[in-house]
């Protein structure tokens, strides 16, 4: 079952040439592949394009991977009869009359020669018009570099002085360059500056004076002249101590963090205060690293009334050390004043039962009756006799003149005042509301006194005044009323002329280094921290110790229901005595020269 295949080609002179071949059937394959019996070497032909099968009575053609057209019709397969023409890609197969003994004869002719097609692969590469990746990269890189880096630093590179604003220059180029630079350099700002530094506006060089140099302290103290040092630089000892004095302001005070400067970390305090002896030979504080877990007891500043200039620093302890007393020279009992039944008070109240028994009127006192916060609310105002005590503790000296009271605070003044009061009565000039005492001689109105009578009258007045003074300043066994000695220590002056009242001093600020504020603790009861209900003596100290604070305050690590408290909640850093800029100036002096 062979097939006769005739390849028709065209020779150089354009004449057709026929090349007959016999291929073995019954099935022959047409295709580009070299294993095909009818080999059609053209890229437009599939590897196995079609196949021809020759049977006993008929021959058929079937499309494989390619497409065929029989007599102009696109088909998948067809019967072949003599005269049929089959298009196989660019080839034309014609069924010819077969010679004897051969069931099928076809001629194969390339009718559409391979055009000289521009098979240039690069033609189909993606090409953005006029923009290669390389060119785009150069543009992107150089543009970014110019806008982000070169333009902002142009004034420095061109050697323009930036001390004056750009508007101050007359040079047009310089003006332009600096105006553009000033705008672009704003894009360097990593975050908004703190509110306090807003006035500097966009002038980076106000703080950042020199390129590639960290902000120096001199830039800070140019404005912050009143900032104190942490500790005197001279007190820092050892290599670590000297390293501390080189710490810049900006290492703690980080700006460009929004409205506020970034908060300080308590770990930074702990670096030195873990063992403060390493940094100074003469530590003034105990070691501490965290308020809750590692903090010494509080130290109180105590005063001695008899040593006006001395402050005793006594550290709290359990039990309290013997020197933890206040030596105020005052006699006072919180327990008595805070009696829940009240204290006797002429202007107080009484219920019906008490009235029936003719008891004294009483008032139940609260802390705020005597202890008022100051304007800022941080501290408590000092207790004053006139404002807080006198309402109950009257200084009246004459039963006939209950509204007359002795002045408080000066023995001489009191003596003068009493003498003048009684002299006036003796001379017959009795003010309204005053009933002169019966034992005081009184002259008749309109009488003219001889000098002897006058002297005798005034002597009588002085005598009465001295009697009244004696009642005020000394204990009177027959009279239960105590006036001055109720609260004060009174002694008779040497020689018997007058009295000495011991000076009174009591602490107003017990922890002068602390930033404690009463206003921030206004939600708490006073007695929660100041346990005075059982205090019977003025020497008792009712300052809370650290355990009381720790009921609410924990350290830097948050605990649910507690107030997180780092060092800076209570402590000032710049708590030294000297101004920091003076310390800086001292450091800037050449060392080792005399």
């Amino acid at each position: 079952m062979d097939i006769q295949v005739t390849y028709i080609t065209v020779n150089r002179r354009g004449q057709p040439q026929r090349d007959q071949q016999r291929v073995a059937g019954p099935t022959v394959i047409l295709g580009r592949g070299t294993q095909c019996q009818i080999h059609l070497p053209d890229p437009r032909i599939a590897l196995q394009h079609a196949e021809i099968t020759v049977g006993e009575s008929e021959a058929t053609i079937k499309a494989d991977a390619g497409r065929i057209q029989v007599n102009g019709r696109s088909v998948d397969g067809a019967k072949l009869t003599v005269g049929d023409s089959v298009e196989v890609g660019p080839y034309l197969l014609e069924v010819e009359a077969p010679p004897a003994g051969v069931p099928l004869a076809v001629s194969v002719k390339l009718v559409v020669p391979l055009a000289s097609f521009g098979g240039d692969g690069r033609r189909f590469q993606l090409q953005a018009p006029r923009l290669s990746k390389r060119r785009l990269s150069y543009i992107a890189a150089l543009g970014t570099l110019l806008i982000c880096l070169l333009a902002p630093i142009a004034p420095d590179m061109l050697g323009y002085s930036t001390l004056q604003p750009a508007t101050a220059t007359r040079d047009t180029t310089e003006h332009m360059v600096r105006t553009v630079s000033d705008r672009l350099v704003q894009t360097w700002n990593p975050g908004p500056v703190s509110q306090a530094h807003q006035p500097f506006g966009t002038d980076c060089r106000k703080c950042h004076q020199f390129p590639f140099v960290q902000v120096r302290d001199l830039s800070c103290v140019a404005c912050h002249k009143s900032i104190k040092e942490h500790v005197p630089v001279a007190s820092l000892t050892g290599p670590k101590g000297h390293a501390f004095q080189d710490i810049r302001c900006a290492e703690c005070h980080r700006d460009h963090k929004g409205q506020q400067m970034a908060p300080r970390a308590q770990d930074e305090c702990a670096v030195c205060h873990r063992d403060v002896k390493v940094y100074t030979a003469d530590p003034k504080t105990g070691n501490a690293t965290d308020f809750y877990s590692d903090h010494p007891q509080f130290q109180l500043a105590l005063l001695d009334a008899d040593k006006p200039d001395a402050v005793r620093r006594v550290r709290q302890a359990q039990p309290a050390p013997p020197e933890m007393v206040e030596r105020s020279n005052l006699k006072f009992s919180h327990k008595v004043h805070l009696d829940p039944r009240g204290v006797r008070d002429p202007a107080g109240r009484q219920d019906a039962k008490a009235k029936a028994r003719a008891e004294d009127t009483r008032t139940v006192m609260i802390c705020a009756d005597c202890h008022e916060p100051n304007e800022g609310g941080r501290l408590i105002l000092p207790v004053s006799f006139e404002d807080h005590c006198q309402r109950c503790h009257s200084l009246s000296f004459e039963p006939g003149a209950p509204r007359r009271q002795a002045a408080h605070g000066d023995v001489e003044k009191v003596a003068t005042m009493l003498r003048e009061f009684y002299a006036r009565l003796v001379l017959g000039d009795v003010p309204a509301g005053v009933t002169p005492p019966r034992d005081l001689p009184r002259m008749r109105p309109g009488a003219v006194l001889t000098s002897g009578e006058r002297r005798a009258s005034l002597q009588a007045a002085d005598q009465k005044a001295n009697q009244a003074l004696n009642e005020l300043f000394t204990e009177q066994p027959e009279k239960p009323r105590e006036v001055c000695i109720k609260c004060h220590q009174v002694s008779r002056k040497a020689g018997g002329a007058g009295w000495d009242v011991a000076p009174v001093r009591f602490a107003r600020v017990w922890m002068p280094e602390s930033l404690f504020s009463h206003a921030k603790h206004a939600t708490e009861d006073c007695v929660k921290c100041h346990d005075v209900k059982r205090s019977g003596k003025a020497s008792d100290i009712a300052m809370p110790d650290i355990a009381v604070c720790r009921q609410c305050h924990v350290g830097a690590r948050p605990v649910e229901g507690k107030v997180t408290s780092d060092c800076s909640l209570c402590h000032k850093f710049h708590a030294g005595k000297n101004f920091w800029h003076e310390e800086l100036q001292a450091q800037l002096q050449p060392r080792g020269k005399k």
């Binding site: 189909f124 970014t144 982000c148 360097w188 700002n189 990593p190 690590r557």
Partner: protein
């Protein structure tokens, strides 16, 4: 061993593990510093920020060296596939490293500009990875054993054939085909602009329009003319089908390349923004 290994699966994801380790370490250290509430929040200027920033900057420079390495055919410094695998994974890890470096602080400044450029480069890179993993398979399906060149040869043959068929038809049909053929060539339909290459199929292709009009016109013909007209429609449909496949091939080729037109120039812009970022930070220290 499989003949082809995706660059994502290189050495069983060796660089995926490296990148995950790097990210986990960075997150761990950041978290360690974030916990105490009164601590200074980590940011670019803290020691953690400097460390992460240095790592990220060196990483960016190294990632850009892939462009050099892939051109050095003689280099023995690891295989290019290994480099590409590391490029993808370590490049992705920059999202974590750079975000932790800045401590989630963003603003209208060159520092965030560098960050945004970096994110754009990474995003375009993600598309590149997707293109490299997905499109070759689609392209093989579209070509169905042919090549772009053979398809173009076929188009050219078919046009010649159509011209011959059209000669047997009335002038109006002949003119229609000839103008469509000329328009196709003029529009340079197979090359086209970047936009048209990416669009894939050109619905306004002159040949498609002419074929559709020819179908309308064909209703008027009868007998042999109708047969020839039908034949012309069949051939023209083959041209349209072939050109659509060519276009689809070109579209895939374009998609495989177009992302690099963003990835590469943006990465150079990023490099410069990075230099500006580093210098600016220390210029006004």
């Amino acid at each position: 061993m499989a003949q082809h290994q995706s660059l994502l699966e290189f050495k069983h994801g060796r660089y995926l593990k490296v990148a995950l380790l790097l990210c986990a370490a960075a997150i761990g250290v950041y978290w360690y510093h974030e916990v105490p509430s009164t601590q200074v929040k980590p940011y670019g200027g803290s020691w953690l920020g400097y460390t992460l920033g240095t790592i990220a900057a060196l990483l960016i420079v190294w990632l850009m060296l892939l462009g050099l390495r892939k051109r050095r055919y003689s280099s023995r410094l690891g295989s290019v596939q290994g480099w590409a695998s590391a490029h993808v994974y370590l490049g992705t890890s920059l999202i974590i490293l750079a975000t932790l470096h800045c401590g989630f602080e963003f603003g209208w400044n060159i520092h965030t500009l560098a960050y945004v450029l970096m994110m754009l480069v990474i995003t375009s890179g993600f598309f590149g990875v997707y293109a490299y993993l997905r499109y070759p398979e689609l392209m093989t399906g579209n070509l169905a054993g042919e090549t772009l060149e053979t398809m173009l040869l076929k188009v050219s043959d078919l046009e010649t054939k159509c011209k011959r068929i059209a000669l047997d038809l009335p002038d109006e049909v002949n003119a229609l085909f000839m103008s469509a053929s000329k328009l196709s060539a003029e529009r340079s339909a197979l090359r086209g602009s970047l936009r048209r290459q990416l669009a894939g199929i050109d619905t306004a292709h002159p040949m498609r329009v002419a074929r559709d009009r020819l179908i309308q016109m064909g209703k008027r013909y009868s007998g042999d003319q109708a047969k020839v007209q039908e034949q012309l429609v069949v051939e023209m449909s083959r041209i349209v089908a072939l050109t659509d496949r060519v276009r689809r091939e070109l579209r895939f080729r374009a998609l495989m390349q177009v992302w690099l037109y963003f990835h590469v120039p943006l990465s150079f812009a990023l490099l410069m923004a990075l230099i500006a970022h580093v210098i600016s930070v220390f210029y006004f220290w």
